[in-house]
């Protein structure tokens, strides 16, 4: 059964999996097995298939055609033409012989589109013994492994080959990063090591080790625990590569826990039934501010005596492990072995699923990824306190350089390297900083505030050489020469550079700015739900900005950040301006939702008294305090960050929108004002109407807060666990009624969710009377109203002159264009 069928079954056995990923060294302890070249990585020019170190058989290699798994433009294209076409490399040197030895070879490969097959082979040079595996290539990078334990007969050297055999379908593939190493203990199995580059060409330079721990084993069993706090050779600690696909190759060890009061899910892995509770502060969207309160979650575990062998993986792969028996409990030792958490690389994943025959971990649904904050002990319990990954936004940007960190040498206007006293103070550029649309841009301003000021974008930093590669004359400035000791500062530009980068920059979409600052804060590109960000942007905050012509349409923002500010504060300003809710989805993605009408085609869950809402759980709160009748926005701060911006007087322009009728004695009878002071509408957007943008934002804030808010709190059964924070839900309940006594049937947005036992507690804000009604041009393919489903009926049909849609029993209030 699948997750969905178990969830919908009347009875089921619910379980939770908590996967805790902590930093683990990927070396094997001590050098005792290094003899005979065990620990060497034998492939030379591992990232250059075009190099002569690789023997090509009828294949054509084009070097550096696409981005490699590590983000560099070093992956080669290899064209195969016929069966037995191949590229291959044989280990060079006396210790590379295969006789009675086991070897593991690996290489990263992908193809442009679709799926094709090719064979990865580990063989001796003479080809008399071989381990072959046919692998399926896709359009994503995968690292493929193969191993071979050779007999005592062959006496030549180990070889790694990629070959098109009969039955393989490959035509053109991309390849990068070949590795070949001898297995510890010559074990007859694949032994995976994090990829190690060797871009030299001489056998005498074979100094790249897959395992590089240099500690001598004292033979007393008191070895390290493969963690940083227990490491005895910190200089060679092996944290793997962040861009590899498997946790272990990223330097991560995962521990799996499940709830102690339910059957253990048998998934072929150790699962410790220590989890006794998950008291959590639910992730919550504050509707009046659209600010997401980070979920704080505490995993409560039982402790366990005699945790036993601590590093079974290393032992089963032939590595030496700590054999000191000692006493101690699981969590007491765990906390010492992994003291201090390496966030954001370390993580806690929470997954929910059901126990059934044949269940695998893939059948469990992710319900969040968290950062570890602290581990507390209380009696015999261990409590792991975590928070969601939006906490990373507590980081500040753009950062500062020391006042003494100035130009070390004079710079000419054509120079693309900058040398400061300490380039290590420059924020790390995005991995794709040199490409067309980088995740974010690190900008330096040289000689700021002078006529000779120049802004440059940093694409890479070489800490060892203390220099940074830069792009000159950016963000409306021109490349200029600068004298030695010139002042340099880090700034951040939210905006769009002109094609001619010396032109005045344009504004940028607010949602794109948000993503940029989050990525600057350390959230990876892949952690975003980009489809939703894009769709919310293009539906509700559409902008069209043309860097070549300079034309601009829509409510774009523009800001130059010269002082360091917390990313969360910056994001909060934008979210307040736009009404955007940002949150972490159950699928571990950072996502967003505009507080706006539901778009046609959106799947909306329906919650009813009969089928969903738990008896006696509904409560309502009508909050009039947040109602406003006028909005004041101050913008165009003039000299930007030189003034505080805390007072309306700091701004050159002010716009006020008033709902006069709401303030009359016939209605609410009092004015209530909301003030927005924003530095995001700068006058440098010379070619676009910032007044229009200000008008757009004020009118939307006005309409959103025109009425007080109504929040419903209710419990649901666990079968409704797919409902997420940020989701619109259609609620049908007798607990809310209209003036005629009809049951409520309307749309709410889920602003909070907490799972406890077999129940879910949600809070949802009612959109009725809060959102302006909107109508949409119906998508092609939508049927006539009478044939449409309920979801489409409430969103996609234009009313007649009576304000109604449909006929007969289907007739209801529709959307009238006036």
């Amino acid at each position: 059964m699948t997750y969905a069928s178990q969830r919908d079954a009347f009875s089921h056995t619910k379980q939770e999996l908590v996967v805790v990923g902590v930093r683990e060294c990927q070396n094997h302890y001590s050098i005792d097995w290094h003899g005979g070249g065990h620990a060497l990585q034998w492939i030379l020019h591992s990232e250059s298939i075009d190099n002569a170190a690789w023997t090509k058989t009828s294949v054509t290699v084009t070097p550096d055609t696409i981005e490699a798994p590590d983000g560099t433009m070093t992956a080669d294209e290899v064209a195969f033409n016929a069966t037995n076409d191949a590229f291959t490399q044989t280990a060079v040197g006396a210790n590379g012989v295969v006789t009675s030895r086991a070897w593991t070879g690996s290489i990263f490969m992908k193809i442009p589109t679709g799926t094709e097959t090719v064979t990865l082979r580990v063989t001796n040079a003479g080809g008399t013994e071989a381990g072959d595996v046919q692998v399926t290539l896709t359009d994503s990078w995968q690292r493929f492994f193969m191993h071979k334990l050779f007999s005592g007969t062959p006496t030549d050297n180990a070889t790694l080959t990629v070959i098109r055999l009969a039955g393989d379908s490959v035509s053109t593939l991309h390849a990068w990063g070949g590795n070949l190493s001898r297995n510890p203990g010559d074990q007859d199995r694949v032994i995976k090591w994090p990829y190690r580059a060797n871009n030299t060409g001489s056998a005498s330079l074979l100094t790249t080790f897959v395992s590089r721990c240099s500690v001598e084993d004292a033979g007393d069993g008191a070895r390290c625990m493969y963690s940083r706090p227990t490491c005895q050779d910190p200089d060679n600690f092996n944290a793997g590569n962040v861009w590899e696909s498997e946790p272990r190759l990223q330097g991560i060890r995962e521990y799996r826990f499940c709830k102690s009061d339910a059957a253990i899910p048998t998934i072929g892995e150790d699962v410790y039934p220590y989890l006794t509770g998950v008291p959590s502060a639910a992730q919550k969207i504050e509707p009046e501010r659209a600010v997401t309160v980070n979920a704080r979650i505490t995993f409560e575990f039982d402790d366990d005596a005699s945790p036993g062998l601590w590093n079974p993986r290393q032992q089963s792969e032939g590595g030496l492990v700590n054999t000191q028996s000692g006493a101690g409990t699981f969590w007491r030792r765990w906390s010492t072995i992994y003291r201090g958490f390496s966030n954001p690389e370390c993580y806690v994943d929470r997954k929910v699923g059901f126990v059934e025959s044949g269940v695998t971990e893939a059948d469990f649904q992710t319900r969040g990824r968290y950062l570890m904050k602290r581990l507390q002990f209380d009696d015999r319990k261990a409590r792991l306190v975590c928070t969601d990954r939006l906490k990373l936004t507590r980081k500040s940007m753009p950062g500062t350089l020391s006042s003494s960190n100035v130009l070390r040498f004079p710079m000419q206007d054509v120079q693309n390297l900058i040398e400061l006293e300490d380039c290590g103070e420059i924020p790390t550029p995005a991995v794709n900083a040199a490409q067309a649309n980088p995740d974010y841009v690190v900008t330096l301003e040289i000689e700021p505030g002078t006529a000779n000021s120049e802004k440059v974008n940093v694409t890479s930093i070489d800490i060892d050489a203390n220099e940074a590669t830069i792009q000159r004359g950016r963000w409306g400035t021109q490349a200029r020469s600068h004298p030695v000791m010139s002042e340099v500062r880090v700034i951040y530009e939210f905006g769009t550079e002109r094609t001619d980068t010396s032109g005045v920059p344009l504004g940028k979409n607010t949602i794109d700015c948000l993503r940029e600052m989050y990525m600057f804060a350390g959230i990876d590109y892949d952690e975003f739900d980009h489809a939703t960000f894009d769709s919310e942007r293009d539906t509700w905050l559409f902008t069209l900005i043309d860097p070549s012509t300079g034309s601009s349409y829509g409510p774009a923002v523009r800001r130059t950040l010269t002082e360091t500010i917390e990313v969360e504060k910056l994001a909060g300003e934008l979210r307040e301006l736009t009404g955007l809710m940002v949150f972490v989805t159950q699928g571990k993605k950072i996502s967003c939702r505009m507080f706006a009408p539901v778009v046609p085609g959106t799947t909306v869950a329906t919650l009813t008294d009969d089928a969903n809402i738990v008896s006696g759980s509904v409560s309502l709160e009508e909050d009039d305090e947040e109602r406003i009748s006028r909005v004041l926005i101050g913008y165009d701060i003039g000299d930007g960050d030189d003034v505080s911006g805390d007072a309306v007087e700091d701004y050159a322009r002010v716009r006020v929108e008033v709902d006069a009728s709401a303030e009359s004695r016939n209605y609410y009878g009092e004015p209530r004002q909301k003030v927005l002071l924003t530095k995001w509408l700068e006058p440098t957007i010379s070619t676009e109407p910032i007044d229009s943008a200000a008008a757009y934002f004020t009118s939307h804030v006005m309409s959103r807060f025109r009425h007080g808010r109504r929040v419903m709190k209710a419990e649901l059964s666990i079968k409704d666990d797919d409902i997420e924070v940020g989701d619109p839900v259609r609620v049908q309940t007798s607990h809310i009624q209209d003036e005629h006594g009809n049951d409520y049937d309307g749309t709410m947005y889920v602003t909070s969710k907490r799972v406890s036992g077999n129940k879910i507690t949600i809070e949802a804000i009612d959109t009725f009377g809060v959102l302006e009604r909107a109508w949409f041009y119906a998508d092609t393919g939508l049927p006539d109203y009478d044939s449409a489903n309920d979801d489409d009926r409430v969103t996609a049909y234009l009313a007649d002159s009576f304000g109604m849609v449909g006929t007969g029993t289907n007739r209801r209030i529709g959307y009238k264009a006036t």
Binding site: F10, T13, R189, Y272, G308, I613, S717
Partner: protein, 273 residues
Amino acid sequence: MAFPIIGYRSMLGLSTTTITDPGTETGFSIASLHDMKSYTLWKSDQTASAVNIDIDAGAGGENADYIALVNHNLNTLGATVRVLADTVDPPLVEVLAAVTPDEDTVTYISFTAPGAKRYWRITINHAALPFSDKPNIGDCYMGMKTTMPEFLTSDFSPFFTAYEVAGARSEGGHALSATIRGQVHRATMEFGGPAGVARSFHDSDLTTFASTHAMRRHPFFFVLDADDATFDRAFFIKMTDTGDLMREAVGGGWSGRLTFTMPVEEAYMEPPE
């Protein structure tokens, strides 16, 4: 109707015993086979060939008349379990013919004790190799069983199973769902009722069980009635953490008989059937 059986002795966990397998899957340990923790798995790295778990019980040898497994995948794999014992290495004498466990949860299989032998082999095989997945076992006991000389009292439910459930009811009054946490096996076992068990049996068998196992809350296997097709299933249970093992004098004296009352609970929560 057979007397209840307790399986707590196991040669696998003895300090004098050495256990080897042809290959342990990366990340797993052979020691997990006998750590009394059903949730830490031993997992073989083999699928293509039979897996021999070899036990060297030391010079003195060990005897066994049962093998019991918990939290394994041998039923799903259609794998068989066979036991050999001998004075030579590898052992050649079959003491348990290949048999497929009836379930993946708790398995108890008895055989005729061959007498103390130094070398034992548990062979996991399949009629049509390879295995569809790598064999794994949470815990394995192999040793001499303890057959109780008395039956349990009549208030002991022979099904010895309940489902722990949490449910929810809707605003409209309907039962929304039932979340079954799993099978619980909780009862107070009173062997022989107020009349207890013979003092001689207590001294020869139960004292060791009580002091080295039950009161240390070590889990053990339990079979209520090996002769009954309904009640011959095995349980992996332990004494409750807070309960007391009651051994009281019978009729004012303790030379003839002692009561033996033990509150127990599941050590491994099985999913609902």
